[in-house]
Symmetry: C2
Subunit: 254 residues, 2 copies
Amino acid sequence: MTLLKMDELKKLHQKKYRRQFGCFLAEGEHLIQELQKATYANPALLASELYLTEKNQDWPSVLAKHVVSDRLMKQLSDTTSPQGIVACVPMAAVLGAGSCVSTDAAAGERGVYLHEIQDPGNLGTILRTLAWFGGFRCLLSPGSVDPFNNKVVRASMGAIFHVALETDVPAAALTQRYRAIACLDMEGESLQSAAFHQAECLAFGSEAGGLPASLLQQPGSKTFSIPGSGSIDSLNLASTVNMSVYELRREMAS
Amino acid sequence: MTLLKMDELKKLHQKKYRRQFGCFLAEGEHLIQELQKATYANPALLASELYLTEKNQDWPSVLAKHVVSDRLMKQLSDTTSPQGIVACVPMAAVLGAGSCVSTDAAAGERGVYLHEIQDPGNLGTILRTLAWFGGFRCLLSPGSVDPFNNKVVRASMGAIFHVALETDVPAAALTQRYRAIACLDMEGESLQSAAFHQAECLAFGSEAGGLPASLLQQPGSKTFSIPGSGSIDSLNLASTVNMSVYELRREMAS
């Protein structure tokens, strides 16, 4: 890809410029390795002078090469000790169709819909789980945290490059795409029921707000919950997603 | 309980003083509500002048009452906007035997051993899951994050008051307490095997270091893993714990 100008790169810390330029940053060797494993897009790779001097490493061959000053690298990094190497990744490589993602909607892929998820760490954790199992598409509602935010990308440990992802998906669109939607909520049927295993899409609300009533009341929707001891009144959102996705995969494998 | 002196309370942000005074802080109404539901210990409750003026709320009746200046409350809080109410909780109320926790080791309680867990958010999330299901005892190895650290207490959303907890448990002590230990690792038997369901203790290493070889090689230990697609090489630690604990509860209920 054509590299953005230096002053444009710095703006990628802000969501509106990521949208405008269609790119986001992924910092550090681990993320770049994951990117190389996953993508057929052509991200631009930037390394600082210091990185090249100290490490004297071979450049990953598939990526474009750009040397930047240590000062600029500091500005591109969102950590106090920059790793010295950053990729500028086209969002199109990650988002929906035409992406690096090899899962196939026709072959039993399931949707995981997250309604107004806010915590970047939770989203990163969820992406890791979806990438771990494979065969899931992550759908984010409007008002969710931006998945191309540095914190999400870092928390995903590169899993974001391995999961089919869509943003700004309204709850109303789900019923057009999926016949059976499993809504995870406080009071519902057990995850171990046949109806849960048949769901084409799993939907999760935020810990504070839950799922919108309009979705819960759709004819194709059914409510499920994870039975607990009753001593506390909520699970972490990522935990609920993890256990639901695990249950679905477990049942499909058995 | 006798209230610590004001200058001692401020020191409870540091682990060594928490150990010295045997207390930790829990800030905000939600945590205090959970504390009241859970404990038969007698924590001291501190509220700022501003809190009392603005909210004019009834004091939770079971707790001791102390009014502190807004300035001191700011120092006790670890957030930029203090909630105005803090409990000083005796660790003995949470730790091991003689605690507020009603689970019974004799009645099929299982151990969850975390080896050198570092991330406070992960530990908080794990405590929520263990409290959700009930019947688990959380054992932390030496070198783990302090569970009485503000960040863990907050991330636990009060679950820390509902889980039997032990700190500084060496891996070597596990084999004396448990006959069958399930070690979660990269390559092992499936979670859905009978051997996993029979484990009395589940053991988890840190994402970076894994479990010590000495534990993996014990006669009572067996290695298990969560089958994945292979596109990424690790799950988040809390995710692994969540799915393992879910699998055990699922199988026990079925």
